[in-house]
């Protein structure tokens, strides 16, 4: 990487030299000569001073010189006190004129290095790469200068700002200039004030740390301006902090929604809380893992599409097992909801242990497709793509379910059985089949949740357990009357969780929430959206 940068630098300087356009007006050739003379002495202290002089000189090939120094390609002809360097292609050039030397002197020795020289060289290079033709590189080095606040970089910075055309790079350069000027105690007061204004407008955490570094003996007006700038930045940062927390809350809500939405439908239809729901989520996550393993070994190029295969497959696997559970176990326990609770708990133990023996007890690596990794920034807000995709995914599942319940024959039958099982049965609805499909649907959706959660959580046999109590609370809070209850429940619990966290800590926040829900249940024993009708009390 470092090599590449230097190569780029070199190419840049060569290009500039080749076109013969002087890169900057402030170039001072006498600095270059002085610097080279110092380096020719080959003592560490003189070399360091020499590096600074070269960097200051603004010569087009100064970056190449410093780079050569770092690579032991800066060569001294000790006899004549002249300096040469070997460029990346191996050609020897004169350090002063940058001309190719056809017959280099025989006894060239490399300039000696120690750690101090190395760090001086890399600082100088940082300043010099402010001139790099690649804008991204310029931004990077501006940020590096801002961190180091090396006063030596100031002249180069000023030159770079004057030459800069891209506004965003210019902004970074100015910020770096402000940081350096602000920290430089002998800079003129008005310049430093200007620097404070620039830093305040930037409003980043780095700017605050620069401003905080002001020594206590600084001039009073400067100190006041600094203090007010710090407060203003911190207020702004606090606001963004709230926004970030709200986003966390907003994005946790859909995670809970996705984990919980498969629970209330079977509960409404069959009156069964599926304790194995969490294990269905886990199975979905492991399905994703298996699919990705398959892609990794047989079609690594198509890895980004693995989720497209995993989603339907997870639905089918979890849904199929759900139907199996309903037909094999739950069917025999109708009218005994508490026993069903125990039986499904037993199933959850079996599934957990089955996965543990098959895949091992440790976390399994599930990859994130390219388009889902990374984050975007809005102001001070960082939004990771995978969270955003999960929000969208949760929304799609929710709408899909809503439509399915409303417009499909199965949805109609489910609603009928929920309202009055015997009546529905008398009307010719095969309630047994509806039960099985409902349970399968709930489990399948849990499988989908597993695919989503595999992207943000560890895939281990305990994955389901960590979400199950939250999911239950969502259902208890929202009620089983309709899907909107789950939506409201998930969003409010997610939001409350994340808003409590900064004040009470994660664990205490959760405890407070649990207690709050226990109290809430006193007021609304059947949740926010309760099932209505005579059949409910049975």
């Amino acid at each position: 990487m470092g090599r590449l940068i230097r190569l780029l630098l070199l190419m840049g300087s060569l290009l500039a030299a080749g076109t013969g356009v002087p890169q900057q007006a402030a170039a001072a050739p006498e600095d270059l000569a002085a610097g080279l003379a110092l380096i020719a002495k080959d003592s560490f202290n003189d070399t360091i001073t020499g590096i600074d002089a070269i960097a200051r000189s603004g010569a087009p090939h100064s970056a190449a010189l410093v780079g050569a120094l770092q690579d032991r390609r800066l060569l001294i002809d000790t006899a004549n006190q002249k300096v040469f360097y070997r460029d990346a292609t191996g050609t020897v050039r004169d350090a002063q004129s940058n001309d190719v030397v056809a017959t280099p002197p025989a006894n060239l020795t490399a300039v000696r290095l120690n750690n101090r020289v190395r760090s001086a060289a890399s600082a100088a290079l940082g300043a010099l790469s402010l001139m790099n033709p690649d804008p991204a590189r310029r931004i990077q080095s501006a940020q590096a200068v801002m961190k180091s606040r090396d006063p030596a970089a100031l002249p180069v910075l000023e030159a770079a700002i004057a030459a800069e055309k891209l506004p965003n790079v210019r902004k970074e350069l100015q910020l770096a200039w402000a940081a350096v000027t602000f920290s430089k105690s002998d800079a003129p007061l008005d310049k430093r004030q200007e620097a404070v204004t620039l830093l305040r407008d930037a409003g980043t955490r780095d700017a605050v740390s620069v401003l905080r570094s002001l020594p206590a003996d600084a001039a009073a007006p400067l100190r006041e301006a600094t203090t007010s700038a710090i407060t203003s930045i911190e207020q702004r940062l606090a606001l963004w902090g709230y926004a970030q927390n709200i986003w966390y809350g907003i994005s946790l809500g859909p995670v809970l929604l996705i984990a919980a939405i498969g629970l209330p439908i079977p509960f409404g239809v069959i009156g069964v809380i599926n304790m194995a729901h969490g294990e269905m989520v886990m199975l979905g996550a492991y399905t994703t893992f298996v699919v990705q393993e398959f892609f990794r070994t047989s079609a690594p190029g198509l890895f980004d599409y693995s989720l497209a295969v995993a989603i339907p497959l997870a639905f089918l696997v979890a849904g199929g097992i759900g139907v199996g559970i309903e037909r094999g176990v739950i069917r025999h326990l109708y009218g005994r909801p508490l026993e069903t609770l125990l039986a499904t708990w037993g199933i959850s133990l079996i599934l957990q242990q089955a996965v543990r023996t098959t895949f091992g007890p440790t976390n399994r690596e599930v990859g994130t497709p390219q388009f889902m990794s990374g984050a975007m920034e809005i102001g001070g807000l960082v939004i990771t793509w995978n969270r955003l995709y999960i929000v969208i995914f949760a929304g799609l599942i929710f709408v899909g379910l809503l439509l399915a319940l409303r417009y499909t024959p199965l949805g109609l039958h489910m609603r009928a059985v929920t309202q009055n099982r015997r009546m529905a049965s008398s009307m010719g609805i095969r309630t047994g089949r509806v039960d099985a499909l409902t349970f399968g649907l709930g489990s399948g959706i849990a499988g989908l949740a597993g695919v989503a959660l595999s992207q943000i959580d560890n895939v281990s046999p305990n994955l389901g357990q960590s979400y199950i109590i939250d999911s239950f609370l969502v259902v208890v809070f929202g009620g089983v009357g309709n899907l909107w209850g789950t939506l409201v429940g998930a969003l409010s619990i997610g939001m409350a969780n994340k808003l409590l966290e900064p004040y009470a800590g994660a664990v205490l926040g959760k405890i407070i929430l649990l207690v709050a829900i226990i109290f809430f249940i006193q007021k609304r024993p059947r949740g926010l959206f309760a099932l209505k009708g005579r059949a409910v009390e049975a």
Binding site: I273, E339, L342, I350, Q353, I511
Partner: protein, 381 residues
Amino acid sequence: MITRALLTDDRTGKWFLAIVLGLAVVVPLLHLVVPPSSPFHISTATLALLGKYLCFALLALSLDLVWGYCGILSLGHGAFFALGGYAMGMYLMRQIGTRGVYAHPVLPDFMVFLNWKELPWYWYGFENAWFAFLMVMAVPGLLAFVFGWFAFRSRVTGVYLSIITQALTYALMLAFFRNDMGFGGNNGLTDFKDILGFPVQANATRAALFAASAVALALGYLVARAIVASRLGKVLVSIRDAESRTRFLGYRVEHYKTFVFTVSAIMAGIAGALYVPQVGIINPSEFTPANSIEVVIWVAVGGRGTLAGAALGAVLVNFAKTTFTTGFLAPYWLFMLGALFVLVTIWLPKGILGTLYDFWARRRPAEKSAAKSETVPQPAE
């Protein structure tokens, strides 16, 4: 005399008490008097294990009282058990005195380690045995009373109540895992030295603790039996079978439920208090929801609504657990436990003892008619 009145038509109860009290005498003797070379000798490890089973049996009994007779499926009874255990643990911690690693006269080791300067107020009084033993009953009882008061008054029933009790124990688990709660964080309380002035590890103390557990189980059985055999017990059963109808008949259902829930929690707390000195540690993992659900399966295996069956189930399941979690079968224990949940609920809904009762009732036609009239009425709602 009261005992005799209670047991007049409770043949199982007589057997149960005879066995438990017999154990209370025989097992300590076999441990203390019989020399280790004899095949009848009971080793320290076995004694501790049996004592543990008896505590679990008392816990199962307490759950059977609420679930079997009042239809309240509590998935948080482990919380009451653990709270009783913690109260006992706090007493035992205070008995360590200067023998801890840091030799602090007042503060337990973990507090010194966490830089606590003085004892938190809720640790006051635990150096007195009588106070600690009171708290063993008062803390779970009070929590159950408050929780039950709120939950039953607003008619939270069935699955909802189960989930809320689960949330309760989950919240307590999270709380007790916190270091700044002052209960030792995830290490819990351990390294006990003395109980009532006797060293915890000594054989005689262990034997006494075993006997105490057996006596507590017997007393617990008598209390539970007294409740279910009384008029109040009949109301509880009617609440289980037809809650709304009982309410319409004028009974204050929530009062009955709160009462029995509180009594049951106190019993669970005592079980926990006896458990802690015998295993030598109490930590927040006792609060995990999975533990509480496991208690339910003990009751289900033995037979809900039979009291003695619950105790039997606790011993059987835990014996199986000890047997199968050691050795080559260990990875399959959870399969077995899971299968137990499924199979018992489907094929053995009355549990071992309930099924046996049915069998005997069928064998004796003379009692058949009497038994029939007592069979559970189908709720008409």
